[in-house]
Subunit: 391 residues, 2 copies
């Protein structure tokens, strides 16, 4: 899969008219540029430079004791070792390549494209002093956005597998839910299901799944708690697994009927329909060429027109190696999201679509689906929840 | 343990005369300032600021949906939530605290102190525009070095436990080594020993343990290979586990005797003695107040005076939450190490001491011990290997 991404990077550099892309790293097990694992299947210890060019060159400059490591990982035909300083071989390689633009990974708005630390940026500025390259540095955020965002067929396959597993576990969670069981118990149940498959949670285990029970639970990134489920309440689960290096991210909502109750109360079902309709409005707006905030606006307008308050988050995010996979956000144009809601949606992108509303006296209704952007619209990768589930 | 470190941070700020320390982060599951896990026992999604002051204040400013998450993690008495932008609450808090110096985490030389990305640094410069704080920003590397470097009693306890487990597994590896078994088999054996204890490797599993077999193996950060052990060869293992969040890092060397051979050949035993003596020379030089490179120089001089070539790496590094735990390096004054060999050794530091030599025709002899710096010298946390082991 890394070979696919390295080849894709070359095409993207050609398309964007950027001659070369430079990734820097050191002690990458401690802190790693999120782009590096797409291109290199190992870690490095000493200050290291990885250069890809639009002509297809791939040059790694690493400390002596990382040379065999990087060669064994494969995909970098030229591996240059050094003993005392990265500076001279980096200057030599750049002089040889003479790129007119040299992309480096910084971004104020996209965390996934902001893998260069400030200290390494200072080091680079100093290392290149007196060369023309200090003036040729550009942000690599467009390269990163395209490379992370345009999933290859094998990446989409891995995401599909993670989603299928998650749906199986969500069905099992549905069977486990009953009055008297707590959010902590539901979380432990999910963790056992994950562990016996040899997998891990898509995000931090303490909050994966998030289990929101009843009308008084705080909403958001909240760890599961000891509060037990009662009849006549909503249970909302936000959950994903990491499988073969890729994540899923789904939300499902159940209602626990009271004795004698056949259906959820009207206001619960009305709210569910409104959430479902808003999510579908977002999905219908999602196609190549639209801008992230337009998709969010379609869903946001649908939910507010139905008489419910706006959700205080983005309607969707990229999904891939990370649950929040960077770049274009299907979100409102709020300062905290920087430029990410202004990104273009492209074919091959995988997004989550998610939103919810609080129903007074019952709890939170939230839905989240995972979709692939196609040439003309989007395809659901998950099997959407289309009615309230009963447990 | 985080509460200990938060309190220690306050003392260190007082001692260094730094009014406040600002840590920034977002999507910290994807990329996290290595200092943040010392102070916060969770992750955050949106742009977040964590401020500790010499007066003992601790203020977290996080996105709305992370407020409950950070409150539940504990240790941050003031948690401020925001919806649209981190900028106004950050400016407000700084105006209230009015610090004369504001430390932020960048460092050209110390990866562990270089947790601020360049994009977030640009964001911060812009967010503070027009305030006096842009001119009060200083590097937090001295704060990070002291906080990571001065291990508390419970941190040392955790490291001791990781070392004890590693020594048990190394003894088991010694029992497993025999002619015909490959480096890959040794690695798999070690991984089974780790897995059945519910632990993980101290560094990337593909290279933990590193298993160096015979005279022709490449040295360094090299994944184990299919080459089988033969009699009359050296086997070198570099190995550590992560237990309760802390790492060990040890190297041991075995010789496989030929039929009828009672001892390793003279040149192998002479080389072992030289490595052991050089390692001890480093240990004798290690005490509070010396500078990192002086410890390395003692060992380097010992090995070269014994007629062996210099090792092409540092003699030791901090050990803790990461195998390479940042800050002061017991290493030579080479450009690739930046300023880290110039750091002061302090009581409470935990270092590795490691070096090795190649013995032509037999293989690599390497030793690595883990030591705690005391008031007057150092104490071995590991049980040192003092003679060649036979397998």
């Amino acid at each position: 899969m890394s070979e696919e991404k390295r080849n894709q990077a070359t095409s993207i550099l050609q398309e964007l008219g950027i001659d070369a892309w430079l990734l820097l790293g050191r002690e990458t097990e401690q802190l790693c540029d999120p782009s590096l694992p797409l291109l290199l299947e190992t870690h490095v210890t000493w200050p290291s430079a990885f250069i890809l060019t639009a002509r297809g060159e791939r040059i790694a400059i690493v400390g002596r004791y990382d040379v065999e490591n990087v060669r064994a990982a494969g995909g970098w035909p030229e591996v240059i070792g050094y003993d005392q300083s990265l500076r001279p071989p980096l200057r030599d390689v750049l002089a040889r390549l003479n790129p007119a633009q040299l992309a480096i990974n910084y971004s104020t708005g996209d965390p996934a494209a902001d893998g260069l630390t400030h200290g390494l940026w200072l080091w680079l500025r100093d290392a290149l002093a007196g060369t023309p390259f200090t003036k040729r540095l550009v942000s690599g955020e467009s390269v990163v956005a395209a490379l992370r965002g345009r999933k290859t067929a094998s990446e989409v396959g891995a995401i599909r597998r993670a989603i299928a597993t998650t749906e199986t576990i969500l069905r099992a969670i549905g069977g486990y839910l009953q009055a008297g069981r707590s959010g902590l118990q539901v979380r432990e149940f999910a963790h056992r299901e994950i562990a016996r498959r040899g997998l891990t949670t898509a995000w931090r285990a303490a909050m994966c799944p998030i289990v929101t029970i009843g009308p008084d639970a705080p909403i958001g990134h909240v760890p599961a708690g000891p509060r037990a489920i009662r009849r006549g309440e909503l249970v909302h689960v936000d959950f994903g697994v990491r499988q073969d290096g890729f994540c899923s991210d789904l939300q499902r909502t159940w209602y626990l009927r009271r004795p004698g109750e056949r259906k959820a109360p009207d206001e619960v079902r009305r709210a569910f329909e409104a959430v479902l309709a808003a999510l579908r409005a977002g999905a219908e707006a999602l196609r190549p060429g639209v801008v992230g905030w337009q998709v969010d606006a379609a869903a946001r307008q649908a939910i507010t027109r139905a008489g419910y308050p706006e959700y205080q988050h983005a309607m969707g995010h990229h999904l891939g190696r990370s649950t929040h996979d960077g770049a274009t956000l299907l979100g409102p144009r709020w300062e905290r999201y920087g430029r990410t809601p202004y990104g273009l949606v492209e074919a091959g992108n995988v997004f989550t679509l998610e939103l919810g509303v609080q129903v007074a006296g019952y709890g939170f209704i939230g839905l989240e689906e995972d979709v692939l952007v196609t040439a003309t619209g989007c395809e659901y990768l998950s099997t959407p929840q289309t009615e309230i589930w009963y447990a």
